[in-house]
Subunit: 290 residues, 2 copies
């Protein structure tokens, strides 16, 4: 009655009918679902026709017709791509933006309604994050970014908050050897965030600059995405950045309170070494030769 497989299947059924309801709510604007989807994809910033086609899984003939119908309605305009005139770029017209906003309002309304009808908001949201991350795992993309970017600052904020919760003595960034942002930007180092559908799910910093080694800093994975191998992917990405930058030796420090992290390092070729700095927080030190 309660075996894991039937629980998953129950979830599938519940979600299938919810999705059906969600789809039909998009039909109220007198436009078939296909056209509405294309319009929304464009509104969300996917301008390249081929990209939209892949994203929605459409046949090129169908895609072309849907674009045409939106164009006939005066909602979009298509132009040739600057670098490659075979490719087409679609953009919303003013009317298209209004129409797109109407769809956005429907979506937002539904999400708000859903939240309003349930008392356990935080638990529900956490569950949704977890499942979205699990389902969209392959959709989680790693991007190199400036550590001062919005998504990077968000990750770092969550990271510090978590350290403060998990360290017995709390955590204060100012007491730690906070790396200079410039040391985590090329050519000295790099900073990588994992983004899934607009939500930052993790980060890692590679701090170079002057020494015979570079350091891995600020490895963090959002609770909603743990256990999905994202930490490993981030570390792999940081290592390949390091290789590109010609770095031969990596070091990192961590704390034994962060058991998952220690395990990850040990399992991926790092070896424990003696303390190599005087930061008050770490009590475990690792090294890896590339």
């Amino acid at each position: 009655m309660l075996d894991p497989v039937s629980r998953v299947r129950r979830f599938n059924r519940a979600v299938t009918s919810a999705v059906g309801a969600l789809d039909t709510s998009f039909l109220g604007r007198g436009r078939p679902l296909g056209a509405a989807r294309v319009l929304n994809a464009i509104g969300h910033g996917r301008t390249d026709v081929g990209e939209i086609r892949d994203y929605l899984g459409l046949d090129s003939g169908l895609m072309s017709r849907l674009l045409r119908s939106l164009e006939d309605e005066g909602l979009i305009e298509t132009t040739a791509h600057d670098d490659d005139a075979r490719r087409r770029i679609a953009k919303l017209t003013a009317a298209g933006k209004r129409e797109f906003n109407a769809y956005e309002a429907i979506s937002n309304r539904q999400a708000t309604d859903f939240l309003a009808h349930h008392t356990q908001r935080e638990a529900l949201l956490a569950a949704m994050d977890l499942i979205a991350s699990a389902l969209g795992r392959d959709g989680t993309a790693l991007h190199e970014t400036d550590p001062r970017s919005e998504e990077a600052r968000y990750c770092l904020g969550e990271y510090y908050a978590e350290l403060a919760r998990r360290f017995k003595q709390g955590f204060d960034v100012k007491l730690s050897r906070d790396p200079d942002a410039k040391d985590m930007v090329r050519p000295r180092g790099s900073f990588i965030v994992a983004m899934s559908d607009g939500l930052p799910l993790g980060c890692v910093g590679l701090k170079g600059g002057g020494r015979e080694y570079a350091e891995i800093k600020r490895l963090w994975v959002a609770p909603a995405a743990r256990g999905l191998g994202l930490g490993r992917r981030l570390m792999d990405a940081a290592e390949s950045s390091a290789r590109e930058l010609g770095i031969a030796l990596l070091r990192l420090d961590t704390n034994s309170a962060l058991a998952e992290a220690g395990q990850l390092y040990r399992r991926s070729g790092w070896t424990e070494i003696p303390r190599f700095n005087d930061d008050p927080y770490p009590d475990l030190f690792f090294e890896k030769r590339l």
Copy 2:
């Protein structure tokens, strides 16, 4: 970036594409989705044609045609309903059962694959249960049943296990005034379980028999369904059963460790009264006049 609405919408997007993949996996057996859905509904025990139509939200014309196509394939047989010859009953033939099992195998396979690809199995399953309950809230049906039925015993087992976890001194049914099953069956009392899509989500017992009052016993709601108002619905159902049985006064005992329960009783018209039994576990006693 992280407001609740966009988190819900991210979930919707993730789930929409997952559901799409799930649907297309059903197309591999050379049968359109509509027919496959009807076949599966029948296989899952929905035999009444009208019920299937409601469940799948189909037009009667379309439904009829889909039944016909399954019949032509030799997968189902339809007969008239015993009591009402206008209604039709659909049943799987031997070939239909084989075909249905093939679809079941696809579904099970997918669920197993999903679980196999993730390390956080328990967290994921808990999240799925929660969301399925939240989405399928209106689909949660209350049924009166024998307290010795499979679903009732499951609920009671979970209930006892939870008491054992939450009471400092643990919980042993044998020490408690375990109600006789017969006192929770009509005409003395009743026992109600909440079922959502095959999963028991909660229960409540109405224990009558001889005294000037009847008692509410064994109110339990699955963790995955808390905060959705199910406790209230179960209590309401128990009260209307009591009214039907001509019971004028209800009592119940509970423990202050179960804070949610106490709140629910106070909010729905119960008043605290002095101890009225010598059960060792409860320390709070309530009464309600109908």
